[in-house]
């Protein structure tokens, strides 16, 4: 039993009732009405938690009418800060099966359009009804910078600096809004209400200079910040050590595209990123920095497992890999008391395997989401 809260327990028992872990340990009392699964040869881990995902979201209704061209920050362009993932859930999302097949039982799910993408929710990756899936919400606001479509496409902002200036202005407006609310009743600003509710903000930080940029920018927002991406963080370990910002590392390692020109050599920097990105988790662990993993669009069980294995092969200790998939993510979102370890009182999310969960030959026997048992489909290898 890999509890993550303490030492691994050989030959231990975990007792689940009403969706929670009632007890865990060696030789605990087993109630007479309990359904028993013999665990000889099995390993139990806390269910994995995806640090940033789109699992469980209903397919977005594509709007046919383009948004009116924005003429400045006052038009609140590309701002969906008020949208709640919790309101957009679809328990029938077929991708949930793939996620579970990789051992994920919970996920921080965020809506995915615009610059201010909306309020995320921590969900269990199964439920009879949408509302049964929600563990906690809102858990944060995701920000993604959107630019490059050209000035004629949708108005302000069309550049990265425009995006940053807009985010900065919105937080200033939030400040002003809060002050104004205290003295008089201002106009209702949907966008600002959404910001006000966010307990923390997720900022994109993939390349080294972007990491610097976001670390520099974060204090201006006066709200807790998480950085996500981090593939070039191997250049910034020392800097990150100074700041202790929670980090979410994308499992979608940069790779050579399937269809590449054999006559054209890629950039050296790009090649280095492809080689070094998987070393980032190991380097972060060694530096004592807390980080979690997120799926970043990988939606096959094997894909996810191989991605984590790549980090382990590149130097991430196994125990740290498990922590990055479980306890660290729970802590980052303030849910350490409910998720992330196999401890009494926590939600009954477990992954049960025959063998080490990251090895290719290992099969995942069961996945428990909120105490409910799932048997994942076995994947076929070529």
């Amino acid at each position: 039993m890999v509890t993550v809260s303490g030492e691994d327990l050989p030959k231990a028992t975990v007792l689940l009732r009403d969706g929670l872990i009632q007890d865990v340990g060696a030789g605990i009392a087993i109630p007479r009405d309990a359904w028993v699964i013999e665990g000889a040869g099995l390993t139990v881990y806390p269910g994995f938690i995806d640090g940033l995902s789109r699992w469980g979201l209903a397919a977005a209704a594509s709007s046919t009418t383009p948004a009116p061209r924005s003429q400045g920050p006052e038009d609140r362009p590309q701002t969906y800060s008020f949208e709640r993932a919790a309101d957009l859930l679809d328990p029938g999302d077929h991708r949930l099966e793939a996620a579970r097949g990789a051992g994920f039982t919970a996920a921080a799910t965020f809506p995915d359009r615009g610059i201010f993408e909306g309020l995320g929710a921590m969900i269990g990756l199964a439920g009879a009804r949408a509302r049964d899936m929600v563990i906690d919400e809102p858990i944060g606001q995701q920000i993604t910078f959107r630019f490059g479509g050209g000035p004629a496409s949708n108005g302000f902002p069309a550049s990265l600096m425009g995006n940053i200036a807009y985010v900065r202005q919105l937080y200033l407006d939030l400040d002003h809004y809060k002050q104004a609310k205290a003295t008089r009743r201002p106009e209702y600003d949907h966008a600002l209400e959404g910001l006000e509710e966010s307990p923390r903000v997720l900022l994109p930080a993939e390349e080294a200079q972007q990491i610097d940029r976001m670390l520099n920018f974060a204090p201006e927002l006066k709200t807790p910040v998480l950085l996500y991406g981090l593939h070039e963080a191997y250049r910034r370990i020392e800097t990150l050590k100074q700041t202790h910002v929670p980090l979410l590392v994308s499992l979608k390692w940069p790779e050579k595209p399937r269809d590449a020109d054999p006559n054209d050599a890629p950039n050296y920097r790009e090649l280095v990123m492809r080689e070094q990105a998987p070393t980032v988790p190991g380097l972060l662990a060694k530096a004592g920095l807390k980080f979690g993993f997120y799926s970043d669009g990988i939606d096959t069980a094997t894909g996810l497992r191989q991605a984590v294995k790549k980090a382990i092969d590149a130097g991430l200790p196994r125990a740290d890999a498990i922590r990055a998939l479980t306890r660290n993510v729970a802590e980052m979102y303030g849910l350490a008391d409910r998720l992330g370890t196999i401890e009494r009182g926590k939600i009954a999310n477990l992954v049960v395997t025959k063998g080490d969960v990251f090895e290719d030959k290992t099969t995942i026997e069961y996945v428990f989401v909120g105490g409910r048992k799932f048997v994942p489909e076995k994947e076929v290898h070529d």
Partner: protein, 448 residues
């Protein structure tokens, strides 16, 4: 970026030290720019500053000594108009006035063009927003400290700026030629579509800025009286314009035709601010007197012309005419490519108008330094200034010359010999990575 790693390693291996160490460059033809030329000259650098310039200087103990072999040492070159090292778009042209955006937010210290510019002797760049709108974004001055972070590249003490643009570029979206729009979208025009509208945007924005300034003054007065009013909304667009009015931010205005140059001078007079530099200003020679009276300076191309109609009256004699009529002139690049040989651009003014050698060199050193308000720190080889130096083989004003070594604050950031040395190793490393990359293709399993 990787070339940086290899060069830094090589420099470290051969004894490159921190700025605290002394550096003596001797046996050079020292082109000070402001104090003449010193044959068989030496320059002593300590703690990043020039501490002595002359002949027969002696090196303090522990100093790194560079024998310049009679080659030419000049101040590091300065470019007053650059768009290098900007990530995610040079323009926020979607709105008529985008003064809320800031180039400082998007500096990309890993742009390889920084290194390529260094290799041509460039040490300082005025990094500007583009010219897609009448009032563009906030601008910064950087030193090309290749290998450092964006924050570390900022030139400490340089006043920040803001970019204006007049003429054809900022009005283009007002009549939206079809080529600009994606297919199927109805034309959405953005004001202004004429030069008259360009003037209007600037005047309107400054009127708004003055109102904003007044609102904040009222607020501060009320607070001073012990009241508790709600502060006005902080508007990032108007803040920098207020700074312009208060003389805390330089205006760098892209312009071409004489009428728009004069227009901006009159608007500035009306609103109560000073234009710092007129950028490009290819017809500035027609209104040299008015420019000099206003107190603006000009940063222009050496010999660009004819690429658009507003550039058709350009003449390479622009620099000479302005210089003779008492306007401070610099030659700039506005180009990742041109910034690599600003010394050669400056040389052209010797042919076009008969500028002297000293006047030509000043165009890309002390003159832009003055324009950016940093001439106390850089722009010439003088005691007390930062050790921003470039060593050339051949006189820098000769088309047969090339830069060999470049120092900023006494650190060596470019050495051609070392660059050449690291090439085979770099090729090897890259090939090794490519092989690895090619072998790393995985096949993902299929679902049953």
């Amino acid at each position: 970026m990787t070339r940086l790693c290899l060069i830094v390693l090589l420099l470290a291996a051969t004894g490159w030290r921190a700025a605290a160490e002394a550096l003596l460059i001797r046996n050079a033809t020292v082109l000070t720019v402001t104090k003449g030329t010193i044959q068989d000259g030496s320059v002593l650098v300590e703690n990043g500053k020039i501490t002595a310039v002359g002949q027969n200087l002696s090196a303090p103990a522990g100093a790194v000594v560079v024998d310049a072999g009679g080659k030419f040492l000049m101040p590091g070159l300065i470019d007053c108009h650059s768009h290098t090292a900007i990530e995610g778009g040079v323009n926020e042209g979607t709105v008529s006035d985008s003064s809320m955006v800031n180039i400082e937010d998007v500096l990309d210290p890993m742009d390889i063009n920084i290194y390529r510019a260094l290799a041509g002797g460039l040490t300082v760049s005025n990094v500007l927003h583009g010219s897609a709108n009448a009032i563009g974004g906030q601008t910064v001055v950087i030193k090309l400290r290749w290998g450092k972070t964006a924050q570390e590249m900022l030139l400490a003490g340089a006043k920040p700026g803001i970019k204006f643009a007049l003429g054809e570029n900022p009005k283009r979206q007002g009549y939206t030629p079809p080529a600009v729009l994606p297919l199927g979208r109805p034309a959405e025009r953005r004001f202004p579509g004429t030069r008259m509208g360009v003037e209007d945007v600037i005047r309107q924005s400054f009127v708004e800025a003055k109102n904003y300034q007044a609102d904040w003054q009222v607020y501060r007065q009320r607070v001073a009286r012990g009241e508790h009013p709600v502060a006005p909304r902080k508007d990032l667009r108007l803040e920098p314009l207020v700074e312009v009015l208060e003389g805390k931010r330089y205006v760098h205005a892209h312009c071409y035709r004489s009428d728009e140059i004069l227009m901006l001078i009159r608007v500035a007079d009306e609103m109560g601010f000073k234009i710092r530099t007129l950028q490009h200003a290819l017809e500035a020679y027609k209104v040299a007197r008015e420019i000099a009276e206003h107190g603006a300076s000009v940063s222009t191309f050496s010999d660009w012309w004819s690429y658009k109609i507003e550039a058709f009256d350009a003449t390479p004699y622009n620099v000479a005419i302005l210089t003779r009529k008492g306007v401070l002139v610099s030659v700039n690049s506005d180009s990742d490519e041109l910034q690599r040989h600003l010394n050669l651009e400056a040389a052209k003014s010797m042919r076009y108008g008969g500028l002297s050698e000293a006047e030509a060199l000043a165009l890309v050193t002390i003159n832009p330094a003055k324009q950016l308000g940093i001439d106390d720190k850089v722009g010439s080889i003088e005691v007390g200034k930062s050790a921003d130096l470039a060593l050339f083989e051949g006189h820098p004003l000769s088309n047969y010359s090339k830069a060999l070594r470049v120092w900023i604050d006494g650190h060596e950031y470019f050495d051609r010999d070392k660059d050449l040395e690291t090439r085979p190793d770099f090729e090897r490393k890259k090939r090794a990575l490519e092989d690895k990359d090619n072998g790393a293709q995985q096949r993902l399993p299929t679902r049953r």
